[in-house]
């Protein structure tokens, strides 16, 4: 039975159950909803949820576990001798799965009957050819062990799927029966439903957290793998970045970190004053009409894809800086430079700083301003000495958020600053950042087991730790100095 049908049946059962539950509850109260413990809709929701939750939960669990179980059972069928020198058990297993899928496709297209597929022999049939006829291309001739395993695989999967359908339907019907029988005028349906909804909310929150944990763990494993192959002193303290896919690479993170921090610094140098001043203008001086036009206009900047900023850096800002600043000053003639990427990234960050700061400045109570103005302070004295100090923690938070953005930015750097890892003070030189190198190490024809590729995970983890620290710092500052103006 296809999965979609199964789910549809469970949902239909839930709907029927909801109607039944509602009726039964009303009947138990002689049709008077006021004599029920909860509103009738809660009785309906209770039955619906009791049908859906266990059935769909079981379905999800089954779908997760069945492939693992089938794999484990099928692997046993392949003797160690059947695994070629150059291959691994994992590769053979993926062959098995591929053949099994091929047989499924063949049956679906009518090129083979179910029976025939189960009784196929490598000796009598050229399986590779028959599968190629239905559009499944295999890399080599199918060996007998693989075919047996594939048939066994299909067999187990088929049985599993049937069992799953039965189990899920039983769970749904069981839930329906139990909950309908429990439905009675004194049954606390509202409390049960609300608890169920709370559990759902908790599950949603845990998924977000678990995903983060999963990302960190996968990075950690690959990073550990990398440090097993490459010395950590070179990675953290090496001043040279020159990956070499024939081995013996220098993989020092310092030049990349330097580029990252240098470009981010210039970007913040641009974004913080401009963003802050425009926030002050918008929140304190602008009339309502100007504000209603100007604020969305600034926020449009945040909606421009960074690749577009990158193009702007590449074809406009870069050549301009080279022709009018770098060359006349004798600072080199590179079109891509730290300055280019920094300036353009700064422009990108302006709305982050200005929009958040504007909200924060607006959140400072009017009573603070009135208090200051009533003491004879001017508008600007009020802003400098009362409003900004009160808004400072939030503003610092906004700046640190912008800094996290700057550190993680890639596209603008690729197009604006180039891809050459270099340790240099000259802002008109091409440099590059951690993120750009992660991309370049993982793209192209790469071997996923060499340190030159795995270094990307170490770089990513380092970056993650840095931005995490920045975010924690931002949170801490905001909490520590959150002005108690209430």
């Amino acid at each position: 039975m296809p999965l979609l049908w199964l789910i549809a049946i469970v949902i239909a059962l839930a709907a029927v159950g909801a109607v039944l539950g509602r009726r039964r509850a009303l009947a138990s109260a002689d049709g008077d909803a006021r004599r029920l413990h909860s509103l009738p809709s809660y009785y309906a929701a209770n039955v619906g949820l009791t049908v859906l939750t266990p059935a769909l939960g079981l379905l999800a669990l089954w779908l997760l576990i069945q492939p693992l179980y089938v794999d484990w059972r099928v692997t046993e069928l392949i003797p160690d001798a059947a695994i070629p020198e150059t291959s691994t058990r994992g590769l053979v297993m993926s062959d098995v799965r591929r053949v099994a899928e091929g047989l499924d496709t063949a049956i679906q297209q009518g090129a083979m009957t179910e029976d025939e597929a189960a009784r196929l022999q490598t000796e009598s049939t050229d399986i590779r050819e028959r599968l190629a006829a239905v559009g499944v291309a295999l890399g080599s001739n199918v060996r007998p062990e693989v075919l047996t395993a594939a048939q066994r695989y299909r067999d187990l999967s088929g049985t599993g799927t049937t069992l799953m359908a039965v189990a899920v339907l039983l769970a749904a019907i069981g839930g329906l029966a139990v909950s309908v029988l429990m439905t009675h005028r004194d049954f606390r349906a509202r409390n049960t439903v609300e608890r169920g909804i709370m559990v759902m909310l908790i599950a949603a929150a845990s998924i977000a957290i678990l995903t983060t944990v999963g990302i960190v763990l996968s990075m950690l494993f690959e990073t550990a793998n990398f440090f097993g192959q490459h010395s950590w002193t070179d990675f953290f303290f090496g001043l040279n970045w020159s990956p070499n896919f024939r081995g013996n690479s220098d993989l020092g993170i310092i030049p990349l970190l330097w580029g990252t921090l240098y470009i981010s610094f210039i970007a913040l140098l641009v974004a913080v004053p401009i963003g802050l001043f425009s926030a002050i203008y918008l929140s304190e001086y602008a009339t309502r009409r100007v504000r209603s036009v100007a604020k969305p206009m600034i926020e449009i900047l945040a909606g421009i894809p960074t690749i577009v900023y990158g193009l702007f850096a590449l074809i406009t800002v870069g050549p301009f800086l080279r022709d009018y600043f770098a060359q006349p000053l004798g600072l080199g003639n590179s079109g891509s430079s730290v300055m280019t990427a920094g300036l353009v990234m700064g422009i990108m960050l302006i709305p982050f700083v200005s929009s958040l700061s504007d909200d924060i400045i607006n959140a400072v109570p009017q009573a603070m301003r009135d208090g200051s103005l009533a003491l004879g302070a001017t508008h600007s004295e009020t802003i400098r000495q009362v409003v900004l100090p009160a808004a400072l923690p939030g503003i610092v938070g906004a700046i640190l958020l912008a800094a996290s953005r700057a550190i993680g930015e890639t596209m603008i750097v690729v197009l604006g600053a180039g891809a050459a890892a270099r340790l240099d003070l000259n802002p008109f030189e091409a440099m590059t950042t951690v993120t750009v190198k992660i991309v370049s190490q993982l793209t192209g024809d790469t071997d996923f087991a060499s340190p030159e590729t795995l270094v990307a995970f170490a770089l990513g983890l380092t970056l993650f730790v840095i931005t995490l620290c920045l975010n924690v710092l931002a949170l801490w500052i905001v909490r520590r100095y959150r002005e108690q103006y209430e």
Binding site: P365, D370, G371, L373, A374
Partner: protein, 265 residues
């Protein structure tokens, strides 16, 4: 001070500090204050009473041009302090506000230390020559606001950490520190408990020696306790203005009588 000697309250000061003539205030299309004439005397506590929305706070805010900060507000008429028209183009509202201090309904200390809260005005206006001078001003102001004993050991702690009544006295100290000539108080006790209220009322009575105090209040008992002159506002009109004792015992206007006896408002 809390006894209700209403008739024989000392009201021998006669020099007029603030003279308002034909004052009209509009918020957009709303006519909030209609043709108010009033003379506020020096070294006197004047209370503005009236039901909510009657315009008493609005009128108070005209006296230090705080209505300027509201875009839609428009003030017409003539308000003179010591004979000088405060809505004259040559008058800088910033300097005017240094002369006319204000305390708000809700205590609004700045998120700074107690010391910096009080020193804020003197610093802005350059009233202190040096640090010791400033220390003196802060101590004097806190003493005048009856907060010194409670605050002297915690001057560097944030002003927002004080209790509500202490915060309001801090705001009074802050207003007093700029040495204003007039002190406007917009329901200064409405957010305070009875004990803090009586402390602030006591303070108002003492401040009368140096300032002309104008207080907006919802509590008629408070008006009767602290003021020498009372003005009753109703629907944007100044209905009646006179000696506090006379207003409360022998009101001339039937609306005043209805309000103080609790029939309207």
């Amino acid at each position: 001070m809390n006894d209700m000697r209403l008739i024989d309250r000392a009201t021998d000061m006669t020099d007029v500090k603030i003279a308002a003539r034909g004052v009209q205030v509009f918020y957009g299309d709303t006519h909030a204050i209609k043709d108010v004439d009033v003379d506020i005397q020096d070294k006197t506590v004047t209370a503005f009473i009236g039901p909510s929305g009657c315009g008493k706070s609005t009128f108070l805010r005209c006296l230090n041009r705080m209505n300027d900060t509201i875009d839609s507000a428009r003030v017409e008429g003539d308000i003179r302090i010591d004979g000088e028209d405060i809505y004259d183009r040559r008058v800088d509202p910033v300097q005017l506000r240094a002369k006319v201090g204000m305390v708000f309904q809700k205590p609004n200390p700045f998120p700074k230390s107690i010391y910096d809260n009080v020193a804020y005005g003197p610093k802005i206006h350059g009233l202190a020559k040096n640090r010791t001078d400033l220390d003196d001003i802060v101590e004097r102001s806190l003493r005048r606001a009856a907060l010194w004993d409670e605050a002297k050991d915690r001057l560097q702690e944030p002003g927002t950490g004080l209790s509500g009544g202490q915060q309001q006295r801090l705001c009074i100290a802050r207003a007093v520190a700029t040495e204003p000539e007039v002190l406007l108080m917009d329901e200064p006790c409405s957010a305070l408990d009875p004990i803090a209220t009586s402390q602030v009322e006591e303070l108002i009575d003492e401040l009368r020696a140096n300032y002309s105090v104008v207080i907006v209040t919802h509590s008629m008992q408070q008006a009767a306790r602290v003021s020498q002159k009372t003005a009753f506002f109703h629907l944007g009109n100044l209905v009646e203005y006179g000696e506090t004792g006379q207003i409360f015992t022998n009101p001339q206007d039937s609306r005043t009588e209805s309000y103080i006896t609790g029939r309207i408002g």
